[in-house]
Symmetry: C2
Subunit: 209 residues, 2 copies
Amino acid sequence: MHCFDAWVSYFYYIWVMATTIQKTSFFESISPFVKLSPESRQALLSLMRKESLPKGHVLVPCGEICRNVYYIEKGLARTFYLRDGKEVTERFKAENSFTCSMSGHVTNTPDGRQIELLEQSVIWSLPYTELEKLYDRFHEIERLGRYLITQEMIELHQRLSEIQFISAHERYNTLLTSNPSLLQRVPLGLISSYLGITQETLSRIRAKI
Amino acid sequence: MHCFDAWVSYFYYIWVMATTIQKTSFFESISPFVKLSPESRQALLSLMRKESLPKGHVLVPCGEICRNVYYIEKGLARTFYLRDGKEVTERFKAENSFTCSMSGHVTNTPDGRQIELLEQSVIWSLPYTELEKLYDRFHEIERLGRYLITQEMIELHQRLSEIQFISAHERYNTLLTSNPSLLQRVPLGLISSYLGITQETLSRIRAKI
DNA sequence: CAACTTATTTGATAAATGTCAAAGGAAAAA
DNA sequence: TTTTTCCTTTGACATTTATCAAATAAGTTG
């Protein structure tokens, strides 16, 4: 019986440690800009649901509206849509970042974007509707939202400039320097669609270097 | 003397009317989402500087950091940067919209983006530093900021999808349906760089239709 | 291991786009 | 009006990229 108690407390200790680490990961990734009060933190955490999900899991299926903000504690997510029957990859998001597709929520109509996991991942979900209530209650959470969207916007400007008027070869080289690990984690077919070129062209570019 | 007074009051009336209309224009363009209290409105207005500026005026010159948010009451602005000695147009913004280049302000280093006016324009400027003070003072202005950036982000996603994996011909057609008036207001050389194609290609595309 | 699926490369060819040079046009200035 | 400048089109050609088809490589499952 003592032995059993020891095991229970051991596993409880592990669980507490794990939870603490996870919480830290989430708040550390946002803390450089926004410091949250304990109340805000508690309110946020109480609404976020953490799940461990397998590779291939679909967060937002075809035709549905994305109703959550996702924080990726671990793993890799891909947002894509269909055009002329082909998948176009809009972006990849890896650990310690957020992903979502807001336009569907804002207009309340499906925007055609799907989100899937490319690796086994640990994902925190927070429904937009709940987030909006938090925006009302906590000025500092509204600030957090503004901050995160600003970051996203700056990233998007960057991404646009890496595609507009840029040759396939240069696009690949830019990715190679800015995010080399992505090439180890993602099949080349998805990379090519992210770069806006065909898989064959990407293959030839890689061969030529 | 009576006659003079009459003229003075007449012009004062015109001036008040004009000012009112201008204020209305600004708040109406943001009101669909965010309703501001009189205090917030007053605080915002007191920090915004209105100017009538000629065609060709440079809001943000080469190498400088954009330190203001600009509201375009009338006219047309263009954000662009240099690559390989050529100007690349990032975006056009017309009346009743906002423009700025935030990444320079966030990182406090020039991001290479310039903003110029393509038409005689009426521009309201608000320094970021002042705006940030307003964010602190008024939750609802922070919300306004979040809202405007969200809109910008959705626009950017849209724009990205209109370039990624899209042929020159399709890009032109998309612009033709989504913003036909732009083609009447902007030289084709700037349009082509906005679409990420050469001017010659654009000319041939237009000839072929 | 064999069979099967998925991912990647390669080849041949066509289509799209860029480059360089020059000619028209249109608008602004003298 | 004439000149000048800027904007747009056109031509010839080179380069890049897509398309279609097939082969090879890699990873999975029975």
